[in-house]
């Protein structure tokens, strides 16, 4: 078993209204960052996971996303694994 740093990115599904992203976009615009188009706000989770391999760590993290970390109705997720 080795330790892996698993990073999970959870984002509101693109088809859904993201009012937080809109509010941040408006604030950036007010600050003069006129180059900013769309902003979307999600979550970034960092997990330390013990697993036999990187693939196993990624597979377990995806199960965690399906069960708890992301809501399949409203969110998409991406898993990134590094050796810890």
């Amino acid at each position: 078993m080795s330790a892996f740093a698993v990073e999970v990115r959870v984002m509101p599904r693109a088809s859904l209204l993201d009012p937080q992203g809109q509010a941040v976009a408006h604030a950036l615009e007010a600050l003069g960052f006129s180059e900013v188009g769309e902003v979307r706000v999600g979550k970034h989770l960092v997990l330390r996971v013990e697993a036999a391999s990187r693939d196993e760590a990624a597979a377990r993290a995806r199960v965690m996303c399906e069960r708890l970390l992301a809501n399949p109705v409203t969110e998409d997720y991406a898993v990134h694994v590094e050796a810890a």
């Binding site: 509101p12 859904l16 009012p19 937080q20 708890l68 970390l69 809501n71 109705v73 409203t74």
Partner: protein, 238 residues
């Protein structure tokens, strides 16, 4: 007399009002702590409002794995009546007992005020004492009340008459189809964002929510409220 279990999660804050509303309606209501796995022969289970687990991760996401939820799910799967109010609605969606999900209000602001809702369906255990199309004033108090579901699910629940309460006029939180409450396809599990327990007497500004709790006295809701009789050995006037 219906036995009504009010589940208390860490962070529930409408549990006392909900218990009081059920008792005022004549129910034998009691608390069940979220770590308990025995609903004590409940006829009805209510998941009250609040901020279970601080709304961490997503509203209801952690509460739905509380030990009591296995019993609540078994009760629901066996046809038992389950009502989720506000945070309770969020928990039922997270648990997959109701379709869809509840997201941050469209204008981000926490909304705490009375709203108008229309009773769309009266063939549920919690709405059969209302008249179809009747409009009610009930308070909302939520930050995450924007009901969403994918287009095919929305079409399905509309076609199946699973939208139980709908906001009159524009939804204050941006909810899809102005949805304020839904039920499952079996119609025994209902979730609503507004708080009926906060409108059960004139001293609270009105009693439009009282019949949600009076409805619990009926064990079996039917398509026609007039057919509901002799429930629990008592003849109900309908």
């Amino acid at each position: 007399m219906a036995r009504v279990a009010v589940v208390v999660f860490p962070g529930s804050n409408c549990d006392a009002d909900t218990l009081a509303a059920a008792r005022a309606a004549g129910a034998d209501a009691y608390y069940v702590w979220h770590r308990d796995t025995d609903l004590r022969q409940a006829d009805v289970v209510v998941l009250p409002g609040g901020f279970s687990y601080g709304d961490y991760l997503r509203s209801g996401a952690i509460a739905r794995f509380s030990p009591v939820m296995a019993a609540v799910t078994a009760h629901a799967r066996a046809g038992g009546a389950v009502l989720g109010i506000c945070n309770g609605f969020q928990i039922l969606c997270e648990a997959g007992l109701l379709p869809g999900a509840l997201m941050r209000n469209a204008r981000l602001r926490f909304l705490s005020r009375p709203v108008r809702v229309r009773v769309e369906q009266t063939d549920t255990p919690f709405t059969w004492r209302y008249t179809p199309g009747e409009e009610l004033t009930v308070p909302v108090a939520h930050g995450d009340g924007r009901y969403v579901a994918d287009p095919s699910t929305l079409a399905e629940i509309e076609a199946a008459g699973q939208v139980v309460w709908r906001y009159v006029g524009e939804a204050p939180n941006g909810a899809a189809h102005d949805i304020a409450g839904v039920c499952n396809s079996e119609r025994n599990v209902v979730g609503v964002m507004p708080h009926p327990e906060r409108r059960i007497a004139d001293i609270l500004g009105g009693d439009d929510g009282a019949r949600v709790f009076l409805s619990m006295e009926a064990r079996n809701a039917t398509q026609h409220a007039g057919e509901v009789r002799a429930v629990g050995g008592r003849h109900l006037r309908v």
